[in-house]
């Protein structure tokens, strides 16, 4: 009876979501150091040209989630991770409370822990396997001010007690090009995040460019946070501040205070400041994503015309 279609169709969905097993890694010069099947995906640790990278994808050997240089572990190898740090340029006072959604190899949490030794940092990661690999292979070591919570990002945000101190900085890094958790790219979700933030709180989100998603994502952020800065590259970083973006003069002044610490990590205002843009290059009429309408993965598979 209909047991069949129900079971097979739904199981196929789950199967597709959790196992992209297949081709072994082993392109030229790449060395597979570690591989494990987590609840959600295949996690691979690869080494190539002195860089160690975390990868989720099985068949295509690009799309690193996180990379480190083991002989220089503080250096931010991937451009997007340096761009995310521009979130610190938005306020003069360093954040006292931070939330990072999406652990990856733990590079951003580790960096913020070092840059903000007194800040309380909550890291939310869905996949316990990713946490394990970050600790085992990427030198991720949460200090006493850091809390790692294994949870769905949205569930964590919803469940967070209102009595806790608000976040001065939120880094949203839960997406990759293969799969977007669609419930974390809706107006309702961003409103929930906004409600956890302090009055001048900043959100930096690692997002997409090059597909139709771009327009919808932009209008959705705009609807919740108003005008924002972007750093458009292969990844696009959206940086919004509650109460409106600071002037570029303020941004430059704040950037100077971080320069020394950033340089040790391979980032610099010389690169970051010129990237910061307010240009609106998306279709402002694109439909806003809501809990009712959120086909982000479908739209992300369509090249932007």
């Amino acid at each position: 009876m209909r047991t069949f279609p129900g079971k097979t169709a739904a199981l196929a969905l789950v199967a597709a979501a959790i196992s992209l097993s297949g081709a072994p890694a082993g392109a030229q010069g790449q060395k597979l150091l570690h591989e494990e099947k987590s609840l959600y995906r295949n996690i691979r640790v690869l080494e190539e040209d002195g860089q160690r990278c975390l990868m989720f994808r099985a068949r295509r050997l690009v799309g690193y989630q996180s990379c480190i240089q083991p002989n220089e572990p503080d250096k931010l190898v991937l451009e997007y991770s340096r761009m995310m740090l521009a979130g610190l340029y938005m306020n003069a006072a360093p954040p006292k409370k931070v939330m990072i959604i999406g652990l990856g190899g733990g590079v951003l949490p580790r960096t913020l822990q070092a840059l903000l030794p007194n800040a309380k940092i909550d890291v939310v990661e869905l996949d316990p396997g990713v946490d394990k690999v970050a600790r085992g292979w990427f030198g991720f070591k949460p200090g006493p001010n850091m809390r790692v919570v294994i949870s769905d990002g949205r569930v964590f945000v919803k469940r967070r007690p209102k009595t806790e101190a608000p976040y001065d900085l939120v880094l949203l890094d839960a997406f990759n090009e293969d799969y977007i958790p669609e419930h974390m790219l809706t107006r309702e979700f961003l409103e929930e995040v906004k409600a956890t933030m302090s009055p001048n709180g900043v959100i930096a989100a690692n997002t997409f460019s090059g597909t139709e998603l771009y327009d919808h994502e932009s209008t959705t952020y705009k609807a919740v946070f108003g005008a924002f800065y972007t750093l458009p590259r292969a990844n696009r970083i959206i940086i919004a501040r509650l109460g409106g973006p600071p002037s570029m003069a303020e941004v430059r002044a704040n950037a100077a205070t971080w320069e020394e610490a950033f340089r040790k990590r391979g980032a610099s205002q010389d690169n970051l400041l010129p990237m910061i843009s307010t240009r609106v290059d998306w279709d402002e009429k694109a439909r806003i994503f809501t809990d009712q309408y959120s086909p982000s993965n479908l739209l992300n598979s369509r090249k932007r015309g």
Partner: protein
């Protein structure tokens, strides 16, 4: 094929379509509260399988007494109407269960039970009931049942694909629900009004 059979097959095919449409959309209702992790899918599939299983059981039992096309239509209409509270209160029910602070696995299971068990069970009743209506004799009973599963399951696959590939891209979740409920009611009304009183092929 006579009109009774055409009508029974159509309702069974649509019922298959409808169940999978609802199953895929159910994840959209639960995700804001419980995420879209493997356990949420586990809860969804568990409840839909359970609902269908109970539905098959009850549908088979119900078919023993005076089976008519009109009653078949009532079953599918009941499944559709039982989805209405989900559309109206799905968010509140999920929110309320979430606020109890229970483990997200059991929260999603409870939400799924509250919202989707009854519509699924009614939909599950359709297939065995339709079998009763279309079977002519013992000789062809297996073949006829095979045709019916074929149509109903084909409906399920179509409902799965169209919902996940296209409907969610075109419309709001609640609009898709409303459309599917409207189609169910229109189909059932049409069948009930035209050939509704027809009894099964064999007395």
């Amino acid at each position: 094929m006579n009109r009774t059979a055409v009508a029974a097959f159509t309702v069974a095919g649509w019922s298959g379509f409808y169940v999978m449409l609802v199953e895929l959309l159910s994840s959209r209702i639960l995700a804001p509260y419980f995420g879209s992790s493997i356990y949420v899918w586990g809860a969804i599939i568990f409840i839909f399988m359970l609902g269908l299983a109970i539905g098959y059981l009850l549908g088979g039992l119900y078919s023993r007494h005076d089976a008519t096309l009109r009653r078949l239509c009532v079953l599918q209409a009941a499944s559709a109407l039982a989805t209405l509270p989900t559309v109206v209160w799905g968010d509140q029910v999920s929110g309320w269960l979430f606020d109890t602070g229970m483990d997200v696995r059991y929260g999603s299971l409870a939400a799924c039970m509250a919202l989707f068990f009854i519509p699924t069970a009614f939909a599950g009743m359709v297939s065995p009931y339709a079998v009763r209506l279309v079977i002519k004799d013992r000789e062809t009973s297996g073949r006829t049942a095979g045709y019916l599963y074929f149509v109903s399951t084909l409906g399920s696959s179509a409902g799965t694909l169209l919902t996940s590939f296209y409907f969610v891209l075109w419309w709001d979740v609640n609009h898709i629900f409303a459309g599917a409920i409207a189609v169910s009611l229109a189909l059932c009304a049409a069948v009930a009004l035209t050939v509704g009183g027809k009894r099964s092929e064999i007395a």
